[in-house]
Symmetry: C2
Subunit: 345 residues, 2 copies
């Protein structure tokens, strides 16, 4: 993770939600990023498109970024299904030929591609498929609940709504308050930012909770584990991952993430986002038999709203749920930390 | 599936629950089974141990079964974690050397084992890993709910409690009443019995609901799909698979399976079995946002009880849940079919 100089590939999908991986790596590892590759947006000002990343150039090809001495090409999107768009192959082969490592979180392992493998071997470079799980994951046993560490899991009213960001912000705010805290990455982007973790959406489905449990047991010496959530509990595609993670990590507290502007599930316009009280009851009721836990706060993603409008939403949601509510990016997560401190071991 | 003559390996684990695969294949494909291999129980009367399988000999080695002209060795257990007990290797190599095919539902693919592969190649025999999913599974889209077929899914208060048996019994009872019905296998044993299906517990976890959806879409021309459930919704190890299957198959009706004598989850003595009304509410509430559905009946597994005691349990459960209740093995599933017929397309 040290001294890496990343070129991030987004190729025309550069917006806050589609290029979640790129945006998050820029937000949390700004110092590692030297350029973006995106033919559609080449030459434009990155900050004006995604609100962060001031000064990072957007170019069209690997060749145009070589003078910045990059060490690796990072695949900057997380498309549903996780397949590689065919038009991206040339960027990857170009990168390997120019002695860059490859970092990918796609479901399809680039290490399984004969052409990429040969180039990586020929140029002595590494292809890191971060979604590939470790080999030693067991079935879930329910043992995470026996650890003393305080386990706080983010859950959501949808995917791609702010769970990882909330967990990262809780971790860094807790550290600033002197708490021995650890961010627990459970998805590709979190792993790219943190350097460790398991992509629980990529393990064999019988082992989801086992993977979550392993993440907790391996980090049980921390005071606080801030665990990145995945999916949403009533999502037609991803609910299984969400529930396995909930039961495997056995959190004592949940932070429910929500975007007020979103009315239907992203990419699933037939499915309305459910009311927060329904979701709170459902998450708590599902957790209860394995490990009782409570929703301790609501994290709102007010991206695109004025601060004033965001504050109104926060107040409204607070009245509706009787819980601490904040937008972590706009207003920080001190409200959550105040709630977490009395629960610490 | 035709003209197979199976030797089933159980090797000392011959009881109704541990050797679920063996027992179910004997129950539903009696005519295919020529012998069992189980050193501990060799020479004993099979029917007196598991209640079925009259006349099937139990022997110690493949060699002792060769005079019965077997065509395949079937691995007859489904251990938690799905690994191969090391002491079983010799039976598998013996089988291949004697020109038997291998049928396995373990999580570890026997096809990945170099020794087994070489023997299979040398003797021109096939190793069928039934848990290996097809390559063309997509992410779930929620489309199963748009099919006209009536989708009835079994769910449970625990694993290994009668979901597959209930789904099989519903299928055959429906066929007898003239309904164009199809059993939908979602686990290794169901696939071994039916010859088709997908082991949803073995797909990459992001694709659980996609696998369930594919099973429904590929069979949408039937009047009735009787879908085999998996796991249990508040199980510390398997809940993710259960929920992905529920959302992916989008059933209109559920049959909840339960064993009155069981007080804690099998293999998880710290986790009590939850009251049926709690489970009914939870399953319905989880399904509702993706596809509204109702529990239409309770299937009791009264194994080991007298018929009289079983009838008392059935009556008690009926009072408690106000739903049709039966033990499919002892008393058939006509009560469920009566409930299903008015729902047919």
């Amino acid at each position: 993770m040290t001294n890496r100089r990343l070129v991030i590939l987004t190729e025309g999908r550069l917006d806050v939600f589609s290029a979640k991986t790129a945006v998050s790596v820029i937000r949390y590892r700004r110092e590692d990023v030297v350029a973006l590759i995106d033919r559609v947006n080449a030459g434009k000002d990155l900050e004006s498109i995604i609100g962060i990343g001031q000064g990072i150039p957007i170019v069209s090809t690997i060749a145009e970024a070589l003078h910045l001495n990059p060490t690796a090409l990072l695949i900057g999107i997380a498309p549903p299904g996780g397949m590689l768009p065919p038009e991206w192959r040339k960027h990857i082969t170009d990168a390997l030929k120019n002695k860059l490592h490859i970092i990918s979180g796609l479901h399809c392992h680039l290490n399984d591609d004969p052409e990429f493998c040969k180039l990586a071997y020929d140029h002595q470079r590494e292809i890191r498929d971060v979604r590939k799980p470790p080999g030693n994951i067991s079935l879930g046993t329910g043992k995470a609940k026996e650890t003393k560490t305080l386990r706080i899991l983010t859950v959501g009213s949808d995917c791609n709504i702010g769970k990882m960001v909330t967990s990262l912000e809780i971790t860094s705010a807790a550290k600033k308050r002197g708490i021995h805290a650890c961010f627990v990455a459970t998805g590709q982007t979190g792993i790219m930012i943190d350097g460790s973790g398991i992509a629980v959406d990529h393990v064999i489905s019988d082992f989801i909770s086992g993977a979550a449990e392993k993440l907790v047991l391996d980090r049980a010496h921390y005071q606080l584990l801030s665990i990145e959530g995945q999916g949403a509990i009533v999502h037609p595609a991803y609910s299984g991952v969400t529930l396995g993670l909930l039961h495997g990590s056995a959190p004592q507290g949940l932070v429910l993430c929500h975007q007020p502007a979103r009315k239907t599930l992203r990419h699933f316009a037939d499915f309305p986002i459910l009311p927060l009280p329904y979701l709170i009851e459902l998450y708590e009721k599902l957790a209860q038999p394995v490990h009782p836990c409570k929703v301790i706060g609501i994290s709102l993603n007010c991206f695109g709203m004025t601060d004033n409008d965001a504050l109104q939403e926060i107040e409204k949601t607070g009245r509706e749920t009787k819980l601490p509510v904040t937008d972590p990016i706009k207003f920080g997560v001190d409200k959550f930390i105040d709630r977490i401190i009395p629960l610490l071991p």
